[in-house]
Amino acid sequence: MTSDTPARRRLRVFSRRRGAPSRARRRIGAAVRMLAALALAGGVYTAFAPGAFADEPKQLSATALEGKQLYDNSCITCHGRDGQGVEDRGPSLIGVGSAAVEFQVGTGRMPMVRQEAQAEQKKPVFDKNQTKQLGQYIQELGGGPQLPSGELVENLDENPEAIARGGELFRVNCTSCHGFGGGGGALSSGKFAPALHDATPEEIYAAMLSGPQNMPVFGDNQLTPEEKREIITYITLQLQEDKDPGGLFNLGRYGPSTEGVAIFLVGITLLVFTSLWIAGKS
């Protein structure tokens, strides 16, 4: 063989056929290959895998930072750092979206007074602006459903059928808990569906989107945004702004149970007094 030039000898490093290499060379070769494989795996991992603190470098907006401040003061005890949740105390807020925050905080349900079957509505702790900030923070933290911008109540002049369609949807989806008149109703073990008498369109929309407390989520694939607006139209323009056909008092619209109370408290009482009066005239 005449090819034993220095150049070819260099190539021989990669050639296995050329007799058994020395022990030292085998060891060095293995170490080099090992290092290369590690570097490759590490590199690919670094390139494709999400970092442990991927969101950390992402800057929170100014509003969200204000929200974070409020969150760290008032919510963190139960919902944990960065909305991760604390076991047996408060659920994670990752992915609940600003709709949930605006409903829960805006109606005073959060912060909760105590752990019980269901958070009660009360005077809100945070004002509208603060609620927005909290919502923004949770939104930027984990995303999730957001309230759409724009009018949430259909205009009946342009779309007069909206109220009837909304009524139908309301009866199918809502009355089994909230009652035919929106007066609310009981669920098991102290839970309840609240009355809708003072619910704003935003609150109703947010509740349908986020499914607060014991309410199921009515996502956009179950009730389209248009159907949601129709339901809100029915609640706000028919049930809340009720013209009350049939009397000054609607007895809360809790069905025949309050009517039964009324017949005894008003009807029978009035007539027993009348009979006392008439029988007294002798």
Binding site: G166, G181, G184, F192, P245, N250, L251, R253, P256
Partner: protein, 538 residues
């Protein structure tokens, strides 16, 4: 001598007219007996009349409603005045009920009057029945009227339920569904009963028409017949009366039918009519437009029957889920409260007058009422029944109560179950003790006299309260004990004439206040001979 003019004498006109009528129909003898019939007067005797008058209101308003209601289950798309249902598919019955409510002048008011009068009818039947029960008015010879009264309640129950179902709205459809479920729960014959009533599978397309004819013809006819017999028996057997001065088991003390009693009854009818109209004008009842047309998939929370059915609903809610399997067949838990419970509690009380007579061995005729306190056993059992009924009724609305008073619904259910067993027993005990206590106090006053509130100090330093004896005293100045007469014993000094009889506010009588009532058998103390009671210090 009468001056004859060309025209007829107006003053003589009624006389000649009545004479003419009597000559042709011989009406004066029966009419005199009728117009002179005496009715005892007490406010509690007017409770049954509320039911009678609300039945008349029901007939009047009901006739109005039939002019506009269409009992058809054919489908139609609503195109009426109420925008929130426009375009919705619904039955003709529901559409015509909406038309009646929104477009017929006064229609909603009439519908509300009809419904309130129905609730009042049932409520006054129950209140009247309680009066009859607790005063022992059902005793011989009036057992039959007690049974008829119960039957009237049952018929009213059916009338109410069929009427509740007619508008074919979401709530009435839910009620019908429950009724069909109750029928289906009856072993062996259940499916046949349900299929024959609904004309096949629920809901079918016949039920509204069938209920309509039952509601406007059959049941009112039955009610009318039973009410006639009920009142006829009151006429024949005469009204019971409270014991009191001059009142015995063989007479009736009161007012003649004409003119006073008839005038009072006329006035009372107007008062009942006014109350129903007031309720209908002020309080909304059964807003059918909010329930929507009946769809099996739409059941609102707080779907309840009217109050007189609610006790059954409550029993159903409280019944534990005990399903019994016999071979391939099953007996659902619904059967016990809804069929056995309802059947038992509406029919078993019919036997009460005979049960009581059998137990006490009392076969005498009773025209005098008994004060509730004088029969603690009866009051105890009645309180048991009332407590049971009220507790079951409350449980029928337990979801509304749980929600509005922030109680867990599960706690309400368990309170209902435990209370249904414990509370009637407790009510029996308390009622009997209260009756005995009241009896005791009556006897004490009869034996020792009325407390005067004057404390006298005896020479030995002891303090005693001076009592005013109700009757004569013996040689030591101790009152001679008086027999209890079954009527109110005066227990305050102003009731025995120490003060002028009190005339109180709204209820003051037209005439001069009568003499202070005293125990029967004792003439009232006359003003001149009354000795002033003093503390002993002059």
């Amino acid at each position: 001598m009468k001056r004859r003019t060309g025209k007829a004498d107006l003053q003589q006109a009624p006389v000649t007219f009545a004479k003419g009528v009597d000559e042709r129909f011989q009406a004066s003898t029966p009419l005199r007996a009728l117009l002179n019939k005496v009715f005892p007067d007490h406010w509690s005797f007017l409770l049954g009349e509320i039911a009678l008058f609300s039945f008349i209101i029901l007939l009047l308003t009901g006739v109005f409603l039939t002019l506009f209601f269409d009992p058809s289950m054919s489908e139609t798309a609503y195109e009426g005045a109420y925008p929130a249902l426009r375009g919705t598919e619904m039955s003709q019955a529901y559409a015509s009920s909406l038309h009646l409510s929104f477009e017929v002048r006064g229609g909603l008011f009439m519908r509300q009057m009809h419904h309130w009068a129905a609730l009042l009818f049932m409520a006054s039947i129950v209140v009247h029945m309680l009066r009859i029960f607790f005063t022992g008015a059902y005793r011989k010879p009036r057992e039959a009227n007690w049974v008829i009264g119960m039957a009237l309640f049952l018929l009213g129950f059916l009338a109410g339920f069929t009427g509740y179902s007619l508008p074919d709205d979401g709530l009435s459809g839910t009620g019908l569904r429950i009724a069909s479920a109750i029928m289906l729960s009856i072993p062996v014959v259940g499916t046949w009963i349900s299929a024959s009533i609904f004309g096949g599978e629920f809901p079918g397309h016949l039920i509204i028409g069938r209920f309509y004819i039952a509601h406007v013809l059959l049941i009112p006819g039955g009610l009318l017949a039973l009410i006639s017999v009920h009142l006829g028996l009151v006429f024949k057997q005469k009204h019971t009366q409270w014991p009191g001065p001059m009142r015995t088991n063989t007479n009736v003390v009161g007012e003649r039918m004409f003119p006073r009693y008839a005038l009072k009854q006329g006035g009372f009818f107007m008062a009942v009519f006014g109350t129903v109209a007031l309720l209908a004008g002020l309080f909304q009842i059964n807003p059918i437009w909010l329930f929507g047309p009946y769809r099996a998939s739409e059941v609102s929370s707080a779907s309840q029957p009217d109050w007189y059915v609610m006790f059954m609903d409550g029993l159903v809610r409280l019944m534990p889920n005990w399903q019994i399997y016999i071979g391939d067949y099953s007996l659902p838990p619904l059967f016990w409260p809804a069929v056995v419970g309802l059947g038992f509690f509406t029919t078993a009380p019919m036997a009460w007058p005979w049960l009581e007579a059998r137990k006490t061995g009392d076969k005498r005729i009773h025209n005098l009422l008994e004060r509730p306190r004088d029969n603690p056993e009866r009051v105890g059992i009645g309180s048991m029944a009332v407590t049971f009924f009220i507790w079951a009724t409350i449980s029928g609305g337990n979801d509304v109560i749980a929600d509005k008073f922030h109680i867990s619904l599960n706690a309400m259910t368990w309170a209902g179950r435990i209370g249904l067993i414990v509370l009637p027993a407790l009510a029996y005990f308390i009622a009997v003790r209260v009756c005995l206590g009241l009896q005791q106090h009556d006897r004490e006053v009869l034996a020792h006299g009325v407390e005067t509130g004057i404390i006298r100090r005896l020479p030995n330093g002891q303090f005693v309260e001076v009592h005013q004896p109700l009757g004569p005293v013996d040689e030591h100045g101790h009152p001679v004990p008086i027999e209890y007469g079954g009527w109110v014993v005066p227990k305050k000094m102003n009731r025995v004439g120490a003060l002028a009889p009190a005339v109180k506010g709204f209820f003051f009588p037209v005439e001069k206040p009568s003499e202070a009532p005293v125990s029967p058998g004792m003439p009232p103390v006359s003003g001149d001979t009354r000795e002033e009671i003093t503390s002993g210090r002059k």
